[in-house]
């Protein structure tokens, strides 16, 4: 088991390495440079420019710079923002918190509504099933940016229940301002998770081992819990992991729409300003979060299914 974990973590590191290289190269290849953004339309004398470039370490060639950066990261130093001169870690901390709160909130919604409705459809065939299936099918086609617009229009402008812009103050205010974004973000994923849950649960309900349990007089809640849910869970957990992991990147759309100040917005502005270190760090964080969430999902599956445990060993 530890062997498996180590192997996965190693894979994660390699992925991060490659991803960071890809990101580094892409930003490097992009036209323009940070000092151009800094100076704007009134560039100072060439000597001053040269000094700034040296100060910002933009002089060395790309490979050297990459290795330098890599070395720093491994010791915990994410570098300094070229634009604000803040340590990058500090620069991204706040936005990272916003994004992760948003993803967590959306994730909870997905679990409750996605898994919940999928189970409902599976356990109550007939009209309930048909209704739930219709709703979830439409949900899988409702992108976050469309949902955002609709939600703002109805719940902000018309009803005034939620703010349409900015992050509120205090826990209550935060929760309120994150609600519409979380809902918008959660819609497609909820639809997909509901579909998988329904299919998986239905398959289990029809399985012979459920019949064995029924024959032994096991019924009701115990039957559903021990024999349907437990067995139906693995594919649902896997899809959940995949979807929530995808939310980390997908959050950029709602962050922009609702002006939340999360990682996505920061990424876009940093990219436009050629703030390499910040872009690197955000990319790293996003890829790491993506991989870790998928790993977590796989570990949960192993917890539930002894065959998966055996296969991994």
């Amino acid at each position: 088991m530890t062997h498996y974990l180590l192997r996965r973590l190693l894979g994660l590191l390699i992925t991060l390495l490659v991803a960071s290289l890809v990101v580094y190269l892409s930003v490097f290849l992009s036209p323009g440079s940070p000092e151009q953004v800094l100076f704007g339309s009134r560039p100072p004398s060439p000597e001053v420019q040269e000094q700034v470039r040296q100060y910002l370490g933009l002089d060395d060639n790309v490979v050297v710079r990459y290795l330098h950066w890599l070395g720093n990261v491994l010791t915990g130093d994410l570098g300094t923002s070229l634009i604000t001169q803040q340590p990058v870690a500090q620069r991204i901390a706040g936005p990272a918190l916003v994004t992760f709160s948003l993803v967590l909130y959306a994730g909870l919604l997905i679990v409750v509504f996605g898994v919940g409705s999928g189970l409902l459809a599976a356990l109550r065939p007939g009209s309930t099933d048909a209704a739930v299936t219709a709703v979830t099918s439409v949900a899988t086609a409702l992108p976050a940016f469309v949902a955002a617009g609709l939600l703002i229009s109805v719940f902000s402008v018309q009803l005034g229940w939620f703010p349409s812009y900015g992050l509120g103050q205090g826990t209550g205010g935060r929760l309120q301002s994150l609600t519409l974004p979380a809902v918008a973000l959660a819609i497609i994923a909820s639809g997909l998770v509901a579909r998988v849950t329904r299919a998986s649960a239905r398959q289990e309900l029809a399985s012979e081992h459920v019949q064995t349990a029924r024959m032994r007089g096991i019924g009701g809640a115990r039957l559903v819990r021990s024999h349907v849910l437990r067995n139906a869970a693995p594919p649902v957990v896997t899809v959940l992991g995949l979807q929530v992991a995808g939310l980390v990147a997908g959050a950029v759309v709602v962050e922009q729409a609702f002006g939340l100040g999360g990682l996505g917005e920061l990424l876009i502005s940093s990219v436009q300003q050629k703030d390499f270190p910040v872009v690197q760090a955000i990319a790293l964080v996003v890829v790491a979060a993506f991989a870790l969430l998928n790993l977590a999902a796989d570990l949960v599956v192993m917890l539930l299914d002894p065959r998966a445990r055996a296969a991994a060993a």
């Binding site: 081992h209 064995t212 007089g217």
Partner: protein, 331 residues
């Protein structure tokens, strides 16, 4: 004469308007073992499932199924659960019938846990039954998962799980078909031993006539959703009455000597949906008369034997010899 433990009376089952059972009647007395024999499509598994109330959702059942006098077909909820607790069912494929995510021990003790019984006692009982079923290191097996056990071992576990509750009636759907021959014999012998000890009746569904003859007191032969013949096992095997039964027995290649040609029953087995109102076997029967495809024969009884055949009388008094066409044996 005491009432039989299981009484099936003109049971019909239709699934989505397709007939599967067209009036099945049979009885199983307490502690008796009955073999339900037939080829695929005969409806034998469906009969078993009707008793267990495990019919598919779109199935509509008619007729009567009584266990210890209680009508089973209309039961719901708690009454149904109580009915099932008096039964035990063993399925053909243990891999799909036993939940793969629970350990063997957890599986065996589930019933006890659900009813709040004494777990320690149940555990001891479980281990004891596993040992009786020929599983030597029973304690170790309790902690293992189904995928770690071979098919034969897992089937023994399933049978153990059923017998340990001491049901009145054991329903077995081809329990050993998926096992190799030596394991089959062993598992059946052990099951028989335990069964006799606890006085459990058995309704065994199989396509293997020899197996039924070896294990059961009585054999019931099904074809096309109906019962064609029912007789004590020894009698049926040596002196079958129904042309179909004769065909089944005659077409088995013998183990003792070589044959150049074996008798065959021409055609392929039909299900209830493919047969009309007359005798389901009429289309393939070597001694069929026009009346056979027109009307369903009545049941002729002679002693402990019951036959549904228009020509039963002729066969019984010896005036008709059922001749089967011969076919070249393929070497």
């Amino acid at each position: 004469m005491t009432a039989p433990l299981l009484e099936i009376d003109e049971l019909t089952v239709d699934i989505a308007d397709v007939p599967v059972l067209r009036g099945v009647s049979l009885t199983v007395a307490a502690s008796e073992s009955v073999g339900l024999v037939g080829e695929s499509g005969s409806g034998k598994s469906m009969t078993l499932r009707a008793v267990a109330r495990l019919l598919p959702e779109q199935a509509v059942a008619g007729g009567h199924v009584r266990v210890a006098g209680t009508e089973v077909l209309g039961l719901r909820g708690d009454a149904l659960r109580t009915h099932r607790r008096g039964l035990g069912m063993v399925f053909q494929d243990p891999r799909s019938a036993v939940n793969p995510v629970h350990s063997v021990g957890s599986f065996l003790l589930e019933r006890a846990r659900d009813s709040g019984a004494d777990l320690a006692a149940a555990r001891a009982r479980a281990v004891a039954v596993l040992r009786r079923m020929g599983i030597a290191d029973a304690e170790r097996r309790m902690a293992q998962y189904p995928f770690e056990l071979s098919g034969g071992l897992l089937q023994r576990v399933m049978i153990a799980s059923v017998l340990m509750e001491r049901p009145r009636l054991l329903l077995a759907d081809e329990p050993t078909t998926a096992l190799d021959v030596t394991t089959q014999a062993d598992v059946l012998a052990l099951t028989e031993e335990l069964r006799r000890e606890s006085g459990t009746a058995l309704l065994l569904v199989t396509h293997d006539l020899d197996l039924a003859a070896a294990v059961c007191d009585r054999i019931v032969v099904m074809y096309g959703g109906r019962v064609l013949e029912s007789a004590p096992a020894a009698r049926l095997v040596t002196d079958p009455v129904h042309p179909y039964t004769r065909g089944l027995l005659a077409s088995r290649p013998p183990l003792t000597h070589r044959l150049d040609e074996i008798p065959v029953v021409p055609g392929t087995p039909l299900s209830a949906a493919d047969t009309g109102d007359g005798c389901p076997f009429a289309s393939r029967c070597p001694v069929a008369l026009p009346v056979c495809s027109q009307s369903l024969p009545e049941t002729t009884t002679q002693g402990a034997t019951q036959v549904r055949c228009h020509r039963a009388a002729d066969v019984l008094d010896g005036s008709l010899d059922v001749e089967l066409p011969l076919r070249q044996e393929v070497r």
